[in-house]
Symmetry: C2
Subunit: 205 residues, 2 copies
Protein backbone atom coordinates (compact mmCIF):
# COMPACT_ATOMS: atom_id res chain seq x y z
CA UNK A 1 0.00 0.00 0.00
CA UNK A 2 1.45 3.36 -1.03
CA UNK A 3 0.25 6.42 0.80
CA UNK A 4 0.32 10.00 -0.40
CA UNK A 5 0.99 11.25 3.12
CA UNK A 6 3.47 10.16 5.79
CA UNK A 7 1.08 11.25 8.56
CA UNK A 8 -1.66 9.06 7.15
CA UNK A 9 0.77 6.19 6.65
CA UNK A 10 2.03 6.17 10.23
CA UNK A 11 -1.50 6.43 11.66
CA UNK A 12 -2.61 3.47 9.52
CA UNK A 13 0.48 1.44 10.41
CA UNK A 14 -0.02 1.97 14.15
CA UNK A 15 -3.72 1.14 13.91
CA UNK A 16 -2.93 -2.03 11.96
CA UNK A 17 -0.81 -3.27 14.91
CA UNK A 18 -4.05 -4.04 16.77
CA UNK A 19 -5.18 -7.67 16.58
CA UNK A 20 -7.68 -8.45 13.83
CA UNK A 21 -7.20 -5.06 12.16
CA UNK A 22 -5.51 -5.20 8.77
CA UNK A 23 -4.22 -2.29 6.72
CA UNK A 24 -7.47 -1.82 4.81
CA UNK A 25 -9.59 -1.72 7.96
CA UNK A 26 -7.04 0.58 9.60
CA UNK A 27 -7.29 2.97 6.63
CA UNK A 28 -11.09 2.93 6.87
CA UNK A 29 -10.98 3.74 10.59
CA UNK A 30 -8.43 6.50 10.14
CA UNK A 31 -10.39 8.10 7.26
CA UNK A 32 -13.48 7.97 9.48
CA UNK A 33 -11.61 9.92 12.18
CA UNK A 34 -10.62 12.50 9.54
CA UNK A 35 -14.29 13.13 8.76
CA UNK A 36 -15.22 13.54 12.44
CA UNK A 37 -14.45 16.60 14.60
CA UNK A 38 -10.86 16.81 15.82
CA UNK A 39 -12.10 16.43 19.40
CA UNK A 40 -13.08 12.80 18.78
CA UNK A 41 -9.52 11.83 17.85
CA UNK A 42 -8.20 13.74 20.86
CA UNK A 43 -10.62 12.00 23.21
CA UNK A 44 -9.66 8.61 21.79
CA UNK A 45 -5.92 9.29 22.08
CA UNK A 46 -6.17 10.75 25.55
CA UNK A 47 -8.35 7.98 26.95
CA UNK A 48 -6.02 5.31 25.54
CA UNK A 49 -2.89 6.96 26.93
CA UNK A 50 -4.52 7.65 30.31
CA UNK A 51 -5.74 4.07 30.54
CA UNK A 52 -2.38 2.57 29.58
CA UNK A 53 -0.30 4.65 31.98
CA UNK A 54 -2.62 4.89 34.99
CA UNK A 55 -4.34 1.51 35.01
CA UNK A 56 -4.26 -0.34 38.33
CA UNK A 57 -4.69 -3.95 39.24
CA UNK A 58 -6.40 -5.14 42.40
CA UNK A 59 -3.71 -6.26 44.84
CA UNK A 60 -5.78 -9.26 45.88
CA UNK A 61 -7.41 -10.70 42.72
CA UNK A 62 -5.31 -8.93 40.01
CA UNK A 63 -8.42 -7.72 38.20
CA UNK A 64 -8.29 -4.28 36.54
CA UNK A 65 -9.44 -1.71 39.08
CA UNK A 66 -9.08 2.01 39.81
CA UNK A 67 -8.56 1.34 43.51
CA UNK A 68 -5.89 -0.81 45.14
CA UNK A 69 -8.57 -3.29 46.25
CA UNK A 70 -11.31 -3.85 43.66
CA UNK A 71 -15.02 -3.52 44.36
CA UNK A 72 -15.53 -7.27 44.54
CA UNK A 73 -12.62 -7.92 46.93
CA UNK A 74 -13.63 -5.03 49.18
CA UNK A 75 -17.29 -6.09 49.31
CA UNK A 76 -17.89 -7.59 52.77
CA UNK A 77 -20.98 -9.46 51.51
CA UNK A 78 -18.92 -11.65 49.24
CA UNK A 79 -17.48 -14.95 50.40
CA UNK A 80 -13.68 -14.80 50.34
CA UNK A 81 -13.37 -18.52 51.09
CA UNK A 82 -14.52 -19.40 47.55
CA UNK A 83 -12.23 -18.26 44.74
CA UNK A 84 -13.01 -18.57 41.06
CA UNK A 85 -9.87 -18.78 38.88
CA UNK A 86 -10.34 -17.02 35.52
CA UNK A 87 -8.17 -15.92 32.63
CA UNK A 88 -8.93 -12.21 32.35
CA UNK A 89 -11.34 -9.39 33.16
CA UNK A 90 -13.74 -10.43 30.39
CA UNK A 91 -14.43 -13.69 32.22
CA UNK A 92 -15.05 -11.82 35.47
CA UNK A 93 -17.53 -9.57 33.64
CA UNK A 94 -19.24 -12.58 32.04
CA UNK A 95 -19.64 -14.42 35.34
CA UNK A 96 -20.75 -11.26 37.19
CA UNK A 97 -23.43 -10.81 34.51
CA UNK A 98 -25.02 -14.11 35.52
CA UNK A 99 -25.55 -12.82 39.12
CA UNK A 100 -25.16 -16.40 40.34
CA UNK A 101 -21.74 -16.19 41.98
CA UNK A 102 -21.02 -14.47 45.28
CA UNK A 103 -17.42 -15.48 45.94
CA UNK A 104 -14.09 -13.87 45.04
CA UNK A 105 -12.05 -14.14 41.83
CA UNK A 106 -8.42 -14.68 40.96
CA UNK A 107 -7.42 -13.30 37.55
CA UNK A 108 -4.47 -15.23 36.07
CA UNK A 109 -3.81 -12.81 33.22
CA UNK A 110 -3.66 -15.59 30.62
CA UNK A 111 -3.18 -19.31 30.23
CA UNK A 112 -0.01 -21.39 30.25
CA UNK A 113 0.98 -21.51 26.60
CA UNK A 114 4.59 -22.50 25.82
CA UNK A 115 3.97 -21.75 22.11
CA UNK A 116 3.41 -18.08 22.98
CA UNK A 117 6.17 -18.04 25.59
CA UNK A 118 3.74 -17.85 28.51
CA UNK A 119 4.82 -19.96 31.48
CA UNK A 120 3.48 -20.09 35.06
CA UNK A 121 5.73 -17.20 36.13
CA UNK A 122 4.15 -14.86 33.55
CA UNK A 123 0.79 -15.45 35.23
CA UNK A 124 -0.38 -14.69 38.79
CA UNK A 125 -0.16 -18.37 39.82
CA UNK A 126 2.45 -17.80 42.62
CA UNK A 127 0.15 -15.30 44.34
CA UNK A 128 -2.76 -17.77 44.08
CA UNK A 129 -0.65 -20.52 45.66
CA UNK A 130 0.30 -18.11 48.48
CA UNK A 131 -3.39 -17.40 49.12
CA UNK A 132 -4.02 -21.16 49.37
CA UNK A 133 -1.07 -21.56 51.75
CA UNK A 134 -2.48 -18.81 53.96
CA UNK A 135 -5.50 -21.05 54.54
CA UNK A 136 -8.26 -18.53 53.77
CA UNK A 137 -9.57 -20.49 50.78
CA UNK A 138 -11.97 -23.41 51.18
CA UNK A 139 -12.85 -23.96 47.55
CA UNK A 140 -11.10 -23.15 44.27
CA UNK A 141 -13.30 -23.12 41.15
CA UNK A 142 -11.44 -23.51 37.85
CA UNK A 143 -13.27 -21.46 35.20
CA UNK A 144 -10.77 -21.38 32.33
CA UNK A 145 -11.60 -21.96 28.67
CA UNK A 146 -12.09 -25.59 27.77
CA UNK A 147 -8.99 -25.75 25.55
CA UNK A 148 -5.66 -27.56 25.70
CA UNK A 149 -4.04 -24.48 27.30
CA UNK A 150 -6.90 -24.06 29.77
CA UNK A 151 -6.72 -27.71 30.84
CA UNK A 152 -2.91 -27.51 31.17
CA UNK A 153 -3.21 -24.44 33.39
CA UNK A 154 -5.89 -26.09 35.55
CA UNK A 155 -3.70 -29.16 35.99
CA UNK A 156 -0.57 -27.15 36.78
CA UNK A 157 -2.38 -25.19 39.51
CA UNK A 158 -4.00 -28.38 40.83
CA UNK A 159 -0.57 -30.03 41.21
CA UNK A 160 0.74 -26.97 43.10
CA UNK A 161 -2.07 -26.97 45.66
CA UNK A 162 -2.81 -30.70 45.85
CA UNK A 163 -1.14 -31.05 49.25
CA UNK A 164 -3.40 -28.46 50.88
CA UNK A 165 -6.78 -29.47 52.25
CA UNK A 166 -9.09 -27.49 49.97
CA UNK A 167 -11.87 -28.44 47.62
CA UNK A 168 -11.13 -27.92 43.92
CA UNK A 169 -13.97 -27.85 41.41
CA UNK A 170 -14.36 -26.94 37.77
CA UNK A 171 -17.34 -25.37 36.02
CA UNK A 172 -19.66 -27.93 34.42
CA UNK A 173 -19.06 -28.86 30.79
CA UNK A 174 -22.17 -29.94 28.95
CA UNK A 175 -24.79 -29.10 26.38
CA UNK A 176 -25.53 -25.36 26.23
CA UNK A 177 -29.03 -24.31 27.19
CA UNK A 178 -31.06 -24.11 23.95
CA UNK A 179 -28.73 -26.39 21.98
CA UNK A 180 -29.94 -29.37 19.98
CA UNK A 181 -28.35 -32.72 20.90
CA UNK A 182 -27.68 -33.77 17.30
CA UNK A 183 -25.34 -30.81 16.74
CA UNK A 184 -23.36 -31.23 19.97
CA UNK A 185 -19.79 -32.52 19.59
CA UNK A 186 -19.02 -36.05 20.78
CA UNK A 187 -16.68 -35.09 23.61
CA UNK A 188 -19.13 -32.63 25.15
CA UNK A 189 -22.05 -35.01 24.78
CA UNK A 190 -20.02 -37.88 26.21
CA UNK A 191 -18.94 -35.85 29.24
CA UNK A 192 -22.46 -34.57 29.82
CA UNK A 193 -23.66 -38.20 30.17
CA UNK A 194 -20.79 -39.29 32.42
CA UNK A 195 -21.23 -36.21 34.64
CA UNK A 196 -25.03 -36.34 34.72
CA UNK A 197 -26.77 -34.60 37.61
CA UNK A 198 -29.92 -35.44 39.61
CA UNK A 199 -32.98 -34.17 37.71
CA UNK A 200 -34.26 -32.30 40.76
CA UNK A 201 -31.16 -30.11 40.94
CA UNK A 202 -31.59 -29.14 37.25
CA UNK A 203 -34.95 -27.61 38.17
CA UNK A 204 -33.36 -25.08 40.51
CA UNK A 205 -32.07 -22.61 37.90
Amino acid sequence: MEFSSKLLESAVNEMAQLPGIGKRTALRLVLHLLKQPESQTELLSESLTAMRSNINFCSNCHNISDTSLCEICSNANRDQSIVCVVEDIRDVMAIENTSSYKGHYHVLGGKISPMDGIGPSELTIPSLVRKVEDGIIDELIFALSSTMEGDTTNFYIFKQIEKFDIKTTTIARGISVGDELEYADEVTLGRSIVNRIPFESSLKN
Copy 2:
Protein backbone atom coordinates in the same frame (compact mmCIF):
# COMPACT_ATOMS: atom_id res chain seq x y z
CA MET B 1 -21.44 -3.81 30.13
CA GLU B 2 -20.20 -2.90 33.58
CA PHE B 3 -16.53 -2.13 34.02
CA SER B 4 -14.48 -2.34 37.16
CA SER B 5 -12.43 0.70 36.11
CA LYS B 6 -13.45 4.13 34.77
CA LEU B 7 -10.20 4.38 32.80
CA LEU B 8 -10.91 1.11 31.06
CA GLU B 9 -14.51 2.10 30.46
CA SER B 10 -13.71 5.41 28.79
CA ALA B 11 -11.01 3.82 26.60
CA VAL B 12 -13.47 1.12 25.49
CA ASN B 13 -16.24 3.66 24.88
CA GLU B 14 -14.03 5.86 22.73
CA MET B 15 -12.72 2.87 20.77
CA ALA B 16 -16.28 1.68 20.20
CA GLN B 17 -17.08 4.99 18.44
CA LEU B 18 -15.12 3.74 15.44
CA PRO B 19 -17.24 2.24 12.65
CA GLY B 20 -17.62 -1.54 12.76
CA ILE B 21 -16.14 -1.79 16.26
CA GLY B 22 -18.56 -2.84 18.96
CA LYS B 23 -18.00 -2.82 22.71
CA ARG B 24 -16.71 -6.38 22.82
CA THR B 25 -14.17 -5.82 20.06
CA ALA B 26 -13.16 -2.51 21.65
CA LEU B 27 -12.54 -4.30 24.96
CA ARG B 28 -10.43 -6.93 23.18
CA LEU B 29 -8.32 -4.23 21.48
CA VAL B 30 -7.87 -2.24 24.69
CA LEU B 31 -6.87 -5.35 26.69
CA HIS B 32 -4.36 -6.14 23.93
CA LEU B 33 -2.81 -2.68 24.35
CA LEU B 34 -2.56 -3.31 28.11
CA LYS B 35 -0.44 -6.39 27.46
CA GLN B 36 1.90 -4.57 25.07
CA PRO B 37 4.63 -2.12 26.11
CA GLU B 38 3.37 1.35 27.01
CA SER B 39 5.27 2.77 24.02
CA GLN B 40 2.86 1.10 21.58
CA THR B 41 -0.15 2.92 23.00
CA GLU B 42 1.81 6.18 22.98
CA LEU B 43 2.83 5.72 19.34
CA LEU B 44 -0.76 4.95 18.37
CA SER B 45 -2.17 7.98 20.23
CA GLU B 46 0.51 10.33 18.94
CA SER B 47 0.25 9.25 15.33
CA LEU B 48 -3.55 9.59 15.40
CA THR B 49 -3.44 13.06 16.97
CA ALA B 50 -0.63 14.23 14.66
CA MET B 51 -2.49 12.93 11.63
CA ARG B 52 -5.80 14.51 12.62
CA SER B 53 -4.40 17.96 13.43
CA ASN B 54 -1.70 18.32 10.74
CA ILE B 55 -3.23 16.57 7.75
CA ASN B 56 -3.23 18.55 4.49
CA PHE B 57 -5.27 18.29 1.35
CA CYS B 58 -3.89 18.96 -2.13
CA SER B 59 -5.14 22.38 -3.25
CA ASN B 60 -5.80 21.08 -6.76
CA CYS B 61 -7.29 17.57 -6.44
CA HIS B 62 -8.24 17.58 -2.71
CA ASN B 63 -6.45 14.28 -2.08
CA ILE B 64 -4.70 13.83 1.27
CA SER B 65 -1.13 15.08 0.93
CA ASP B 66 1.71 16.39 3.10
CA THR B 67 2.49 19.15 0.58
CA SER B 68 0.15 21.84 -0.75
CA LEU B 69 0.23 20.23 -4.19
CA CYS B 70 0.21 16.42 -4.12
CA GLU B 71 2.74 14.23 -5.91
CA ILE B 72 0.34 13.39 -8.71
CA CYS B 73 -0.70 16.99 -9.39
CA SER B 74 2.90 18.21 -9.29
CA ASN B 75 4.15 15.45 -11.62
CA ALA B 76 4.81 17.07 -15.02
CA ASN B 77 4.59 13.70 -16.78
CA ARG B 78 0.92 13.32 -15.95
CA ASP B 79 -1.80 14.61 -18.25
CA GLN B 80 -3.76 17.37 -16.52
CA SER B 81 -6.33 17.51 -19.31
CA ILE B 82 -7.82 14.17 -18.17
CA VAL B 83 -9.41 14.17 -14.72
CA CYS B 84 -10.74 11.10 -12.98
CA VAL B 85 -13.49 11.91 -10.45
CA VAL B 86 -13.34 9.63 -7.39
CA GLU B 87 -14.91 9.47 -3.95
CA ASP B 88 -11.90 9.32 -1.65
CA ILE B 89 -8.21 8.54 -1.30
CA ARG B 90 -8.84 4.78 -1.28
CA ASP B 91 -10.09 4.97 -4.85
CA VAL B 92 -7.02 6.97 -5.91
CA MET B 93 -4.82 4.30 -4.29
CA ALA B 94 -6.76 1.51 -6.02
CA ILE B 95 -6.51 3.12 -9.48
CA GLU B 96 -2.83 4.05 -8.97
CA ASN B 97 -2.15 0.38 -8.14
CA THR B 98 -3.31 -0.64 -11.62
CA SER B 99 -0.58 1.58 -13.23
CA SER B 100 -2.91 2.09 -16.19
CA TYR B 101 -3.91 5.72 -15.65
CA LYS B 102 -1.66 8.71 -16.25
CA GLY B 103 -4.06 11.63 -15.83
CA HIS B 104 -5.05 13.71 -12.79
CA TYR B 105 -7.69 13.03 -10.13
CA HIS B 106 -10.40 15.00 -8.42
CA VAL B 107 -11.34 13.70 -4.96
CA LEU B 108 -14.95 14.55 -4.06
CA GLY B 109 -14.72 13.53 -0.42
CA GLY B 110 -17.92 11.47 -0.58
CA LYS B 111 -21.07 10.98 -2.61
CA ILE B 112 -24.29 12.99 -2.64
CA SER B 113 -26.45 11.27 -0.04
CA PRO B 114 -29.43 13.24 1.32
CA MET B 115 -30.09 10.45 3.85
CA ASP B 116 -26.73 11.19 5.50
CA GLY B 117 -27.09 14.96 5.07
CA ILE B 118 -24.43 15.15 2.34
CA GLY B 119 -25.34 17.57 -0.44
CA PRO B 120 -23.21 18.94 -3.31
CA SER B 121 -21.86 21.76 -1.14
CA GLU B 122 -20.38 19.27 1.35
CA LEU B 123 -18.28 17.82 -1.49
CA THR B 124 -15.62 19.44 -3.68
CA ILE B 125 -18.00 19.72 -6.66
CA PRO B 126 -17.82 23.56 -6.91
CA SER B 127 -14.04 23.43 -7.31
CA LEU B 128 -14.39 20.73 -10.00
CA VAL B 129 -16.87 22.90 -11.92
CA ARG B 130 -14.44 25.85 -11.69
CA LYS B 131 -11.67 23.68 -13.17
CA VAL B 132 -13.98 22.77 -16.06
CA GLU B 133 -14.86 26.48 -16.57
CA ASP B 134 -11.17 27.35 -16.71
CA GLY B 135 -10.95 25.17 -19.81
CA ILE B 136 -7.95 23.03 -18.82
CA ILE B 137 -9.93 19.77 -18.81
CA ASP B 138 -10.62 17.82 -22.01
CA GLU B 139 -12.07 14.66 -20.48
CA LEU B 140 -13.77 13.90 -17.21
CA ILE B 141 -13.87 10.22 -16.14
CA PHE B 142 -16.52 9.33 -13.57
CA ALA B 143 -15.15 6.57 -11.35
CA LEU B 144 -17.63 6.49 -8.45
CA SER B 145 -19.14 3.36 -6.92
CA SER B 146 -21.93 1.81 -8.95
CA THR B 147 -24.63 2.62 -6.39
CA MET B 148 -27.67 4.87 -6.27
CA GLU B 149 -25.62 7.61 -4.54
CA GLY B 150 -22.75 7.20 -7.01
CA ASP B 151 -25.06 7.47 -10.01
CA THR B 152 -26.82 10.51 -8.49
CA THR B 153 -23.50 12.24 -7.95
CA ASN B 154 -22.36 11.45 -11.51
CA PHE B 155 -25.61 12.85 -12.90
CA TYR B 156 -25.49 16.00 -10.75
CA ILE B 157 -21.95 16.79 -11.91
CA PHE B 158 -22.85 15.96 -15.50
CA LYS B 159 -25.74 18.47 -15.39
CA GLN B 160 -23.43 21.17 -14.01
CA ILE B 161 -20.84 20.83 -16.77
CA GLU B 162 -23.09 19.83 -19.68
CA LYS B 163 -22.83 23.25 -21.30
CA PHE B 164 -19.04 23.07 -21.56
CA ASP B 165 -17.39 21.39 -24.52
CA ILE B 166 -15.66 18.47 -22.74
CA LYS B 167 -15.85 14.71 -23.09
CA THR B 168 -17.41 12.88 -20.13
CA THR B 169 -16.86 9.16 -19.72
CA THR B 170 -17.49 6.61 -17.01
CA ILE B 171 -15.48 3.51 -16.16
CA ALA B 172 -16.76 0.33 -17.81
CA ARG B 173 -19.29 -1.79 -15.92
CA GLY B 174 -19.17 -5.47 -16.79
CA ILE B 175 -18.21 -8.96 -15.72
CA SER B 176 -15.14 -9.00 -13.46
CA VAL B 177 -12.06 -10.77 -14.82
CA GLY B 178 -12.17 -14.34 -13.51
CA ASP B 179 -15.92 -14.32 -12.82
CA GLU B 180 -18.28 -17.01 -14.05
CA LEU B 181 -21.20 -15.79 -16.18
CA GLU B 182 -23.82 -17.86 -14.38
CA TYR B 183 -23.18 -16.04 -11.09
CA ALA B 184 -23.22 -12.51 -12.55
CA ASP B 185 -26.24 -10.38 -11.67
CA GLU B 186 -28.73 -9.58 -14.45
CA VAL B 187 -28.11 -5.82 -14.60
CA THR B 188 -24.35 -6.20 -14.93
CA LEU B 189 -24.65 -8.97 -17.50
CA GLY B 190 -27.26 -7.00 -19.47
CA ARG B 191 -25.09 -3.88 -19.54
CA SER B 192 -22.02 -5.86 -20.50
CA ILE B 193 -23.86 -7.08 -23.60
CA VAL B 194 -25.27 -3.67 -24.55
CA ASN B 195 -21.86 -2.04 -24.07
CA ARG B 196 -19.86 -4.79 -25.77
CA ILE B 197 -16.45 -3.83 -27.16
CA PRO B 198 -14.54 -4.97 -30.29
CA PHE B 199 -12.76 -8.24 -29.53
CA GLU B 200 -9.42 -6.86 -30.75
CA SER B 201 -9.45 -4.14 -28.07
CA SER B 202 -10.04 -6.74 -25.34
CA LEU B 203 -6.72 -8.34 -26.31
CA LYS B 204 -4.75 -5.21 -25.41
CA ASN B 205 -4.74 -5.62 -21.64
